[in-house]
Amino acid sequence: MSLIEVKNVIKEYETAHALRGVSMDVDKGQWVNIMGASGSGKSTLLNIIGGLDNASSGDVLINSTNIESLTEDELALFRREKVGFIFQQSHLIPYLTALENVMLAQYFHSLADENEAAEALKRVGLGQRLKHRPSQLSGGEQQRICIARALINSPEILLADEPTGNLDRENTKIILELLKSLHNEDHFTIVLVTHDPFVSGWGERTLMMEDGHITGDEVIKERDQGN
């Protein structure tokens, strides 16, 4: 049985049809990329899988629980327990240090634990940057805080929406290598949205989206991840 089951999800806005009936499954531990042109509905799908937004119709089952039937507060609890988000913009809280940004996620989850948060930042290579504010760090470093924050409560699913969209090649590679090694160690499930073919070289499977539909589903072999 799949960890994530999306069944005929439609998302309509007053001005746009973002998703026109999307169905897909993701197995536990899989790394899936979603690719597609701008406006094809990638972010909308990701947000609905993460319980950050609701579908207009259709079902989203996570561990067989239909999250479309959850109340707003139940969705908050679902997100805190099961999901870690990374966005294109880091959305770090500017007046908190790297360490405190990670601890805030612990605080809303259960208990803030300074040592554990520091450990998580060491894992993403920021052991020397614990007391820095986001504005004192580079874009790549900020995204690494976001990875630490997203994974601090050991979620089953990591949802990443263009996590390298603001980064250069070099930093993109650092981030993706980091995700890969964390994924190999902890075996969480990754759904990563990108429109950059370079990025989709990482991961095990790529879904293609076009105009609110899934139009392709391709399993990736080990590929040259260079350049």
Binding site: S43, D53, R79, V83, E100, A112
Partner: protein
């Protein structure tokens, strides 16, 4: 050591916006100060209602017409009336001291001792000693034990001030002399200006109409009549007060609402992010409630202090005395501050919590 992480993150977030919080707190302060000041003043005036009678434990006052007097013998006759428990006479007049005009109140010294007023010094021991109102101490630069002379139409009385009295009434600005001393000074014998009577409260109206029949020229008023006359003025003041309170309250709420509104608008991203990492609406709301509490508590407390000073300044100007501001008013002021702040925060924060995180977090 276990830290309170809520307080930890709350302090961080509040210290970001000290300016905003101070502004909001100042609007609470002004509102509370105005409301407290008005309440303090009216409550002070209420205390003074009929205080001329209450001070002597009297409930009926008989006054002669202007420039006329009541016969001392009448006091005896009134005392013999059914239901009259106690009767006091006073002579009211004017005298000059060092060419300055002062009020003189002649009364039975014994009645003053019983009334429990604050005396600084000692009660008169002989017929040359008198008491002065506390405000005269400064106004005339006199000291305890000092010899003074009071003049009235060529008559001259050499006297010694044995003590000062403070009551928060007209006595504070007058010399208090015995009735014989007053007669000597005024050149009248066996005459009184005012009778202060204590009657059985049940037959107050009956007794006062009987006295009125005995003394058709005099004015006879019960404590309630005196208080009602003063209260009608107070009533008008209270109307004004309620109006001002409503306006001020409204202005403060609007001002804090816009401050809070700007505050949450500025922090949309933060709110969206908190939701994404699993905060419930209540997890987020508590940060803003705590902020509103701080604004309300500090603004309320500062507003009470300001209002208190305002009240005393007005009271000193108007009555030459301070008002006893009841303790509950301080609690009430702080509560009003908190209520203003919570009401004003309720709507903007409620709106902020409705933000869809998916929409906010896609914004650049």
């Amino acid at each position: 050591m276990k830290r309170n992480w809520f307080l930890y993150f709350f302090k961080k977030s509040v210290s970001q916006r000290k300016g905003r919080i101070i502004i909001a707190s100042l609007s609470v302060m002004l509102a509370v100060a105005i409301v407290t000041g008005l309440f303090g003043i009216t409550s002070g005036i209420k205390d003074k209602l009929g205080s001329e009678l209450k001070a002597y434990g009297a409930n009926v006052i008989v006054t002669s017409g202007k420039g006329e007097y009541l016969d001392y013998d009448l006091l005896e006759r009134i005392l013999n009336l059914d239901g009259v428990e106690h009767a006091l006479g006073q002579v009211l007049g004017q005298a000059f001291i060092k060419k300055e005009s002062v009020e003189v109140i002649g009364l039975e010294m014994g009645s003053m001792r019983e009334s429990g007023w604050r005396l600084d010094g000692s009660w008169p021991q002989n017929e040359r000693e008198i008491i002065a109102g506390n405000n005269l101490k400064e106004a005339l630069q006199i000291k305890q034990g000092e010899n003074i002379s009071l003049q009235n139409e060529g008559r001259n009385l050499e006297l010694t001030v044995s003590g000062f009295i403070e009551r928060g009434g007209p006595e504070d600005n007058a010399f208090i002399v015995s009735i014989p001393q007053a007669w000597e000074l005024m050149g009248i014998e066996g005459k009184l200006s005012v009778f202060l009577l204590r009657n059985k409260s049940g037959d107050l109206d009956k007794i006062s109409s009987r006295i009125q029949n005995m003394l058709p020229e005099a004015s006879v008023k019960t404590l309630r009549q005196v208080a009602v006359a003063e209260a009608s003025l107070l009533g008008k003041m209270q109307m004004l007060m309620i109006l001002v309170t409503v306006v001020v309250f409204f202005a403060a709420v609007v001002s804090i609402m816009s401050t809070m509104g700007a505050n949450v608008l500025e922090r949309r991203e933060e709110i969206g992010l908190m939701k994404a990492i699993g905060a419930t609406r209540n997890n987020i709301r508590i940060f803003y409630i705590a902020e509103a509490l701080i604004i309300g508590l500090t603004g309320g407390a500062a507003g009470f202090l300001l209002g208190y000073l305002f009240t005393q300044a007005v009271s000193w100007g108007a009555f030459d005395s301070f008002i006893k501001v009841p303790l509950y008013l301080s609690l009430l002021s702080v509560a009003v501050g908190v209520i203003i702040s919570l009401i004003a925060s309720h709507f903007p924060v409620g709106d902020a919590l409705k933000y869809n995180p998916a929409v906010i977090l896609r914004e650049e």
